[in-house]
Subunit: 441 residues, 2 copies
């Protein structure tokens, strides 16, 4: 058998990032830069006022105070966006708005609160040092300076710096185009009636949601029949355009496991028994002329979810060149369970809060990997190392959250709100992120 | 002055969730159920095999073992999806695939590994208890049983249980339609040339990315000129369809702050000085016949980002009825800084790993809230309570992450990989989520 880490390493070793593309900034959010980006301009572009106030020579208002204010004639207004290029006459001032260009010869701003705010003659009641409330050109970034490195993912703050610098297009790893295919003649798409012996496909819609939640997207969510010829034809079709194909089902020991039959020996496909529970039967390889990575996941919904989190999510990260590391939270076990010897177990748990403020974990749903009701109420997967065969009550486990922490924290806050306002005070010794400011209740 | 918590409470008090809609399941991912959902069917729908193997009466194979296997005639194959409705003849077996319906009279499955796998007569070398490897109808969910409660957000696992039960449509809070408007005559959209005194708009694209990263979407990202009549007209237009309007800029003390001039006294708009840094000038209210919530944020990019995280993100959660609580991580301060007395400070920091494995925080970028370069390299915002005026080196702060933890953890793992493999071993006393399995390097 292969360990989880060995299989993951074998998968990642075969994956190379998708193509580079140059995109308008508005379409690049979430993608990863493949080149350093330098600013073509100084930021700020020009010296400008940090406050609404009056542009002055600091020397002209030396000694001004509330007791002895100085009356200064106002040359006019400089609103933000003013491109006139004003100059400050001797002993004068300009009324100026935040972001407006400094007039030549001015070296400081007196903020409006330290004046009477008038527009013809202004009474200035504070002195300022040269440079006060002035944003100098290039003080943030110099033209030619690197603002983002290759490998940076473009989140909201990166959008802001690129837009500020006027970078309208960026070269990034393209979005990953994923095809999801559920296999099995018993499957019917949700929305269509099921006959005897048939069930609705849940893996396809779930995988599409998982791909989307990970920030990628599906170009096709469909179905493979249990017929080798049709499987081959349908796969060949998707291999011409997909960046990643994920199938579920059809890969265990049955006489009708047609996906495995078709793919055995194809490309670099390998079918592996991984010492994990659930998710033992894993298949992965590169297929077709374009060497498209293909995952063949087991058919049970819980196995699919676990396989996605453990193998597919890191593969998507590598395809898109995202820096990715699985993040777990520690939790104290509220009531123990057993784990199969020699297999790393991913056990569905609900997260609660124990008296010390730390997370506590209790099993959610039954042990069968076909049980979806328990999956829907689980907060995470407790990871039990292969060498442990029992998880003791009171011991500590690492839990991979299946829902965003902001949602888990909000529910815990809601539950504890009945006895006390538990969010504050518990401190951080508890070994967990801390929730604040309930958004909805 | 108003505290952050007071202002947030005042905002949330005025917000009611958006309309309910009934959507196909595939379009409901990420949205919140407004009604309990019950399963119309048993899950599993019918008794079926949990393994590839042979359906038997347990009594018929009693005593079978590798030393004394039993030879049993095979009536045929039952593949998954078979709707024929077979019955098990006495002393017979059916070869059966995972998920295929159990034949009448059979009460257990012998898995294929405990047989010779033949299709006419099979040699069975293990006995089984009644019920072995059988998934009973309704053992997961009974028809009529509640599978999800009102208030549940539809994540991937919830998609799976809904699809399994054949629930093709769900009633949810609709997606939130956000309009983003940047104000100021100095602003030019990225991609267009800037003239003297002008700058590229960075707040609009950043807010659009923030809205999207929070799981919502923008229907319009545009611009308001500094002219009261145009502002009024443009706002009125968006108030007919938007669920939320976010403006940035035009709300401080300047003579040209037209947004504030137009909106003062309109609807329930209030302009408030919040004791925070950055982000002091906040405006919020309900406008128009549809009572659309409108945020008027300050104009500096850093202030916009902080205001979004602190006020807009929880408001979006309430609009969509998501359970939301701000999640912070604790960090040890690597080199201290000062904080303005009486104002809650949100200080940009980078996160590092200290020797104990805990997060360590060091200031990122300069103090000015117009500085975007530092923002783009910050990992989070350290929250300094209003009553503290100095953040001491070695003290602990709570940090609101600005990037996903999986990305921060991956970068920390990469940095520490040069000296040692730091991810394991540090344990959870460190008070932080733990990263595992590097996805990309």
């Amino acid at each position: 058998m292969t360990t989880v880490d060995e299989h993951l390493a074998a998968v990642l070793d075969q994956i190379t990032p998708v193509r580079e593309v140059t995109l308008p900034l508005a379409q690049a959010h979430g993608l990863v830069l493949t080149q350093d980006v330098t600013s073509p301009v100084d930021l700020p572009r020009f010296a400008n006022s940090a406050m609404d106030g009056y542009a002055v020579r600091a020397a002209d208002v030396a000694g001004a105070s509330p007791e002895s204010p100085k009356l200064v004639p106002v040359a006019g207004d400089i609103p933000a966006g003013d491109g006139e290029g004003h100059t400050l006459g001797e002993g004068m001032t300009w009324r100026i708005m935040t972001g407006a260009p400094m007039p030549e010869e001015a070296d400081a701003i007196v903020k409006v609160e330290d004046t009477d705010g008038h527009s013809h003659e202004v009474l200035i009641s504070a002195s300022v040092e040269p440079g006060t409330h002035v944003r100098r050109a290039g003080e943030d970034v110099r033209a030619g300076e690197r603002i983002l490195s290759a490998g940076s993912r473009i989140g909201p703050a990166q959008v802001a710096v690129l837009a500020s610098a006027g970078v309208a297009e960026v070269t990034v790893r393209d979005a990953v185009r994923v095809v999801v295919l559920s296999t099995g003649d018993e499957l019917v798409p949700v929305g269509e009636p099921v006959g005897p012996g048939q069930i609705h496909d849940s893996n396809g819609p779930m995988l599409a949601a998982l791909v989307r939640a990970a920030g990628h997207y599906t170009t096709h969510v469909g179905h493979l029949p249990d017929d080798e010829k049709s499987i081959k034809k349908e796969l060949d079709h998707h291999l011409t355009s997909a960046d990643l194909v994920i199938t579920s089902g059809g890969v265990s020991k049955g006489a009708y496991d047609a996906v495995k039959a078709v793919l055995t020996g194809a490309g670099s496909m390998e079918f592996t028994e991984v010492d994990m529970q659930p998710g033992k039967p894993q298949g992965f390889g590169l297929l077709g002329r374009r060497k498209v990575p293909v995952f063949t996941l087991p058919g049970n919904p819980v196995s699919v979810l676990v396989s996605f989190e453990v193998f597919v999510r890191p593969a998507l990260a590598r395809l898109s060149e995202q820096r990715y590391e699985q993040v777990t939270v520690p939790a104290v076990v509220l009531s123990g369970w057993t784990s199969p010897a020699g297999r790393q177990q991913y056990h569905r748990v609900r997260l609660l809060r124990d008296v010390s403020g730390a997370y506590a974990a209790e099993p959610a749903g039954g042990p069968g990997s076909h049980l979806v009701a328990g999956l829907a109420v689980a907060d995470g997967l407790a990871i039990v190392p292969a060498e442990e065969s029992e998880v003791l009550t009171g011991s500590q486990v690492q839990v991979l959250p299946l829902r965003p922490l902001w949602e888990i924290e909000a529910e815990l806050a809601q539950e504890s709100a009945t006895d006390q306002d538990g969010a504050e005070g518990a401190g951080s010794e508890a070994g967990r992120p801390r929730g604040r400011h309930r958004g909805a209740s």
